[in-house]
Subunit: 117 residues, 2 copies
DNA sequence: CGCTAACGTTAGCGTCAACTGACAGATCAA
DNA sequence: TTGATCTGTCAGTTGACGCTAACGTTAGCG
């Protein structure tokens, strides 16, 4: 198994929302309470709470309870799937780039090329 | 300037759709025509065409016209913003992780632990 | 010229997602 | 217990998104 493909899907969908990325940036370096996070935005605490739920279910943040407060912190392992996808895309596309350069150079030498017009 | 923040936003939104990620994977190694891409899925060509438009406007694919056909290929530079975000999040969160390990070790030496039941 | 093939574009529809407002649960102090 | 604080959850609305079907456009062939 590849570590659950749906997990990567959840992470992508969660990160598609700009506000959720901003939240993730906030809790990347510091552990913050839901209220503190909500205070940083112009939307309702309800909205932030829902965003935090999405982030938690996507495995992107950790939740820890302390009294009546709930403290959140970024969870780097949740980004593993994203990194895999990006690295794969990146290297593959760059390989093609190199291959095209070679084909371009080869096309200028003898008289044999097969595909494309 | 930071290379336009909205560009990164477009890329994230574009990649939130599983089908668009699949398309991107297809054109990562080979340059394909819209029809060939559409043939790989169970949806209408119209839907694929719209997906390709989104990917192109997000800077994730390149379009090249050859006769009546339009050939698409992945554009690795479009992923630059994503990579920056991921690398930043990753390193920041891991730094915090190390800091926490140190604090944990310092707290674990004498005979005092406080939280959790 | 007409005809066909390969695409993109528009209008319309159904569905999902983000937001607000009102309510409920849990914790701590007096 | 009563009250105040911090927070999640439940309807309900609105806007965005993905899909299909019909149409318009461009390139190549006879």
């Amino acid at each position: 198994m590849i570590e659950d493909e749906s997990a990567t899907d959840d992470a992508f969908r969660a990160l598609a929302e700009p506000r959720r990325r901003a939240i993730l940036r906030l809790v990347a370096t510091d552990e913050l309470a839901a209220g503190e996070i909500a205070a940083a935005f112009d939307v309702t605490r309800t909205a932030i709470s829902q965003h935090l739920t999405v982030l938690r279910e996507a495995g992107l943040v950790n939740e820890r309870r302390a009294g009546t407060r709930r403290l959140y912190r970024a969870r780097p392992e949740g980004l593993a799937g994203l990194r895999r996808f990006l690295d794969e895309m990146w290297s593959d596309a760059l390989d093609v780039g190199r291959r095209l350069v070679e084909a371009d150079r080869a096309a200028g030498e003898p008289g044999l090329e097969s595909d494309v017009a």
